[in-house]
Amino acid sequence: MKPATLAFSLLLLGLAGCGGYSARLTRTRTALDAGAPRQALRELNRELKVKRAEDLPAPLKGEGVLLALERGTVLQQLGRYPLSSRDLEAADKGIEMLDFSRSGIHEVGRYLFSDDVGPYRAPAYEKLMINTLNMVNYLARGDLSGARVEARRFAVMQRFLRDHEEQGVALSGAGSHLAGFAFERSGQNDEALRFYREAAQYRETPSLRDAIERLSGKKQAQGPCAQTENCGELLVVFSLGRVPPKRARRMPIGLALTYASPFLSPYDYRRANRIAAQGLVTWVNFPELGMPRGSYESPWLALNGQALASEEALQVDVEARRAWERIRGPVIASALVRTISRALIGEASRQAAGGGWAGLLLSLGSQAALTARDTPDTRSWSTLPARIYLSRLRLPPGDYVLEGAARGLRGRRRVHLEAGGWALVSFSALR
């Protein structure tokens, strides 16, 4: 056996056994399921290789970008808004750089090597959610300037998605509603109206209808808070649940062929069939979106002990499912192409070693190493809330106590409203 061939085989074996991204997050998700966001934060700090939430590795690279997104979401649940903003902003820039750095060689690697070769490409709904959650961070701190920056970034991304992907993926009820709120409270009503109308395209809710009619002059506000300057405005944002994480799955090659046949070339399909018939390869690795985490009901909200209604503004888990369904077939097809490539590499190794027992062992070894190295791409923003509910109302100036509960978690916030002022209160139950 030539030394180069041996070195190559050892290299492949050395790469074997890498776990997927989703497996790295198991402890974080378990902590969130147990209603222990502080423990989840510690787990994420450990994954980011920092001691505390105040530290952020610089520059963020690879899965670090996703980990920053995860930590930003958990920090928001803990009410640590400035740190959450910092993480989300760093991740926002990181996701953008990953998008730009993806190249043809990564696609080749994906088809030959492993599903998670190359930079992470965030789906449209994740990109829009970065700015949506960060608007919550800024508005919760009363910072309209910061919220407007995020609203503009949100709009830039929407425009890009509209031009380069489907029209539907650029819609986000919660993001557009929050952007409209930020501009309305800044006195920029035309911009606010544009965002409210966009939010209504996703889902028209009573509060959106009211805001659109009010700003377009079709309706005068009624009741004791008809004059904006006499009352304050309260916006409650409730994020609950989590989108299903992706998980690694092994599927018999015959079944995988059934799923992926529409996305394979006739040539690849024949080769895959031949390899399956020879029994050389029996399993295919690929990622799958997990099952929904139960059904979602509206959160319970109370203002000074009185029940408060909320509106569902966004179904993030449904968007995640739609995004996954769009790419599922091609993902399985690429897994099959990798399977074929591995068989070819095995054959190459056998021939390079001159056949015989040594060749057979090398062939089996290199195929086994490549199979182990073939990590399904389970990268996704897995702490992202599954649903976002909004509740919006005008109230006389004063001090209020807000209580919220969802999925077994409860929270309580005190809020002071001034005449003509406003406040955003955020609740999160990421379980």
């Binding site: 690279k61 820039k93 730009f100 080749v108 030959l112 380069h164």
Partner: protein
């Protein structure tokens, strides 16, 4: 036979080599000449802000308002705020710009500068209310509260566009000088800068 499969093996080794990377290290500006030159993103850095400020100042020094200030024997002036109307979080950079601007005005000797930093309550009010459309009457009211003859205010706009492999932000920094008594705009200028991420 090896030659037939050599390309495959070479390709795999090449892909593995792509994953290698150097460790990051901290450096001082003096150790790395030119460290301030590269752009790290589409946000405004110190170099961009200096360039935009210098452009505005060079026009200001040649403007009639300087002769007016000389005739008034160092009237009082305050820089109120520079509004961020961009898609980048540059508020702290704009605060730095205001400090640089104050320094230049003080050193020019044309005016006496009253810094807003000494009046945190008014600063907070301006920060909160200076969010909507530009209102010269409101700005003049703040000027009177500060007891100054002139105020400087401004805003930064950004036209942000994204393509599949690039992002570009075109910034425009507008600056205005207002007479507090009359709300008259005595000076206005714009400086532009573009930042982009390209492949």
């Amino acid at each position: 036979m090896m030659g037939r499969y050599g390309n495959w093996i070479g390709l795999f080794v090449g892909l593995v080599a792509l994953s290698a990377c150097a460790k990051p290290r901290a450096v001082r500006g003096a150790e790395e000449p030119g460290i301030d030159n590269p752009a790290f993103g589409t946000s405004l850095d110190r170099r961009d802000l200096q360039k935009m400020l210098n452009e505005n100042l060079s026009v200001l020094w040649r403007s009639p308002v300087i002769q007016r200030w000389q005739a008034e024997n160092r009237p009082t002036l305050s820089i109120l705020a520079i509004r961020n109307e961009t898609s980048e979080h540059i508020d702290s950079a704009l605060q730095s710009l205001i400090s640089d601007f104050e320094t230049q005005l003080i050193n020019s000797g044309h005016v006496r500068v009253i810094s807003l930093e000494n009046q945190p309550r008014l600063m907070e009010e301006i920060r909160k209310q200076h969010a909507g459309g530009f209102d010269p009457a409101q700005v003049a009211r703040w000027g009177r509260q500060l007891g100054v003859r002139y105020v400087i205010t401004g805003k930064v706009f950004g036209i942000d566009e994204r393509a599949a492999n690039a992002r570009r932000v075109q910034y425009a920094l507008f600056m205005q000088i207002l007479d507090v008594e009359t709300s008259e705009v005595l000076f206005q200028n714009k400086a532009i800068e573009t930042k982009a991420i390209v492949r």
